[in-house]
Structures are given as C-alpha cells and as structure tokens.
Subunit: 232 residues, 2 copies
C-alpha cells in the first residue's frame, strides 16, 4: 500500500514531468512540495525501490509506467473532486483545490465511480485540466498554446488555467478569465506583461508573464475537448 505522502510525490513528479519533461530534479520536487532536498532524495530512493520511478544519481528522476498510473489515479481523483465540488456543492472555482488535495487520497474506487457517474464522466475539471479516464491511459497532452505565445490584436479563448496558486486563481476568477471566455490581447509590455480585454465586459486586465505562461488558449473557431464546468 502506498502512503499519502508517496502519492503526493508521484503526483508532483508527474506534474513536473508534464511541464518540463524528464528528468525531474531533486530540487524541483523539493520546491514543488515544500520539502528539503535530502528529504526528497530519501523518498525518491523508496519510490525507486518500489519500481515507481527510475533514477539516475545526480541527474534526476522519471516515472515508470506503474508510477505514472498511480499519479494518474490520484490526478483523476483530484479533478473529479474539483468538478464535483463546483457542480454539486456550490464551491467556487478557486476554492476547490485545497479540498480536493485533502480528499483525493482517501476516496474509494466506488466513490470515484459514483462521483464520475453523477457528473456524467466529464473530460475536464473546472480549471480546464483534463481528467484522466477511468482506464488511466495518459491523456494526450493537447497542443494548446499559452497566452504568452500570442501577440497584440489576437482574439483567443481561454481553455485552461493553472490550479496551483489559490491567489492567482482568485484573481483570475475575479477578472473573469475562466475556461470558455474569449479575450483580446490589448498590449504586451516589456517582461511579457500582457494586457487583455475580456469579451462582454469592458474590463481590461494585466497579467504578469509568469501567469500568462500558464494559461492555455485556443483560436475561437477550434475547440478544446470541453470548456470546463461552469461556476459562480
């Protein structure tokens, strides 16, 4: 049986692998999880012993297929919970992450099935992140561009935002920058600061490059799987 902590490591490594590809460094994991590097080295050793990842000393780490499957299972739990909480328990977009983090390790397979059924087997969570399917095959990491790939005058639709930082999420939520909204890029200042106009509202919002980089967008005529669950 894997501990909650091990599951957290696998999830973290999976995310980091998605973002920057393998190998994933000790310090990156430490940073992501708020642990010290020696702690990570030690844990990574145990995960390697269990065949959940491969490690090259002083280089980094890469999940095995088995490790990836575990990560996807946890991720599925997490995103189903996020979707359920917004759909059925009236949570707002920016509140769900913490709750899902706490619950994701403790739900049964039965619970997972029933929640998925209650939601009609959704494909994305409220932030637009794809929900791994029940068979835990790796979701195709869609070729969506990011907001910072675009330039002044572009009109695009938000598909997906990062759920990592609650404050950032709160800010985007306020700003109306949520999956499904159409935005126009008004200005790109030095250091990548992007100013956008949100369709329908007259409002303009400026976003630092660090945020713009995490917002996935599409052309207005394309479609990304789905548009995320609606929310208050």
């Amino acid at each position: 049986m894997l501990s909650d902590v091990m599951e957290d490591y696998l999830k973290a490594i999976y995310s980091l692998q998605m973002e920057h590809g393998p190998p994933v460094s000790t310090s990156a994991i430490a940073e992501y999880l708020g642990k010290t590097p020696p702690t990570v080295t030690s844990m990574v050793g145990k995960l390697e012993d269990r065949g959940l990842l491969e490690r090259e000393k002083y280089k980094g780490v890469e999940l095995t297929e088995e490790g990836e499957t575990v990560a996807l299972e946890v991720l599925r739990h997490h995103r189903l919970l996020e979707a359920y909480l917004t759909e059925h328990l009236d949570y707002s977009w920016s509140e769900v992450h913490e709750e899902a983090d706490a619950l994701e390790h403790h739900i049964s397979e039965e619970f997972e099935r029933r929640v998925a059924a209650a939601l009609g087997d959704p494909e994305v969570d409220p932030h637009g992140d794809p929900i791994p399917s029940a068979d835990l095959t790796p979701p195709n990491s869609s070729g969506l561009s990011t907001l910072s790939d675009h330039t002044v005058g572009d009109v695009i639709v938000v598909c997906r935002v990062s759920d990592r930082d609650p404050e950032e999420l709160e800010y985007l939520s306020e700003a109306g920058v949520v999956p499904g909204t159409t935005i126009e890029i008004i200005d790109v200042a030095p250091f990548g600061m992007v100013t956008v106009r949100v369709a329908d509202s007259e409002r303009e919002q400026s976003l630092p490059e660090s945020v713009a980089r995490t917002i996935r967008v599409r052309e207005p005529d394309e479609s990304c799987e789905d548009e995320g669950v609606s929310t208050a």
Copy 2:
C-alpha cells in the same frame, strides 16, 4: 493540530463512554481500535498531556469537555458524510460506514457546512444515529429502549441500529430492519435470541441477543427525533 489517529482514539473513547459510561479501560479501547494495550497506554498519555482526557492510572479514562468536543466534531463529520453518501451518491445503507471513516478526518469546515446545507441540516444519519449539531453540544442521549428490553407480542418501531459491523448492517438491511420500520416480537428464545415479524412483509427474522441489544426502538405512538434518511 490533532492527527487522524488521535481523532480516532477520541471518537472511540466517546463511543465506549456512551455505551458503558466512564471510565473507559485501556483494553476496551485497544479492542475497539484493533491496537495492542501498550499502544493505547502510550497514546492515552499523549491525549492526557493535551488536556483531551483525564486518566487515572490502572483505572481508565474519561474525556474532558475539550476532548468530547473534538469527538463530536469527528462524529458530526462521519454522520453527515453517511447521510450525504446515501442521499446524493446512491450509496446503500450498509456501504457508507467505511467511506465515511476514511473521509471524516479530511473534510474542511466549509465542506461540512455545505454538506449539511445540501441535506437540510438533518438530525440523524441513515442508521438513526443522531448527528451532533454544528455547535457541538452533546446530543441528549435519548432514552430509547433496546430491542432486547421488549418481550413477545410487543409492537415497536426501529429508531436506530449500530453501524459498527458491516456484515450485521448488511444482514439487517436485507431483513428490512431499518430505522422507521415497525416490527412485532414473535418469540424470545433462550440466550435472548429474538424473532420478529417485519411489518408489511410476511417475513420473520431471528436476531441474536448481541444484535438485539444494539437496536434502539420506540413505541409506535411516540416519535424519536426523526427516522433516518431513506435508502435503497
């Protein structure tokens, strides 16, 4: 911050206190939680240090007000979850206990509020157990009699069954002995074996004394708070 484990001890002690009153012995706690007595002694020491219970060496243990409040908080979580799972996620009566045990330590206050709201602030869970109110004042341990207090010919209504043993629960569920059903006592055999007829169905069921003792009942004309959430 209290650990999950500590919460489990407090919940266990609370239950044992309800059943047999204080003081609660080391071995009773050990038995209830499936731990060894030395483990319990050690944990009980820590709980005492935190002011959650009072201990008299070689005698036993009794929760302080603070300890009881914690226990009630966990119990509230547990029973709200049980109610929610049967009401909104289609769980059956006998399946909810384990799931609630796993989740009860990990839900936020916010989650508790929203679940309670979604259920309309119920007063009992699907087994008929009273749900502690949000202010965590001790629920009045109602003066319900048990099935084994009654005798042949008595016609009574089931209010509450124990949720401790999944098999027992499954059996009672099959038998139709659930909160709200009216039963008539047909026979009381030696060793307290009780045979009852379930109203509406022609079926007769025999229950060992150990089970009969845990079933709370009322006279048909009285009312106990509520009758538990309906279920499949």
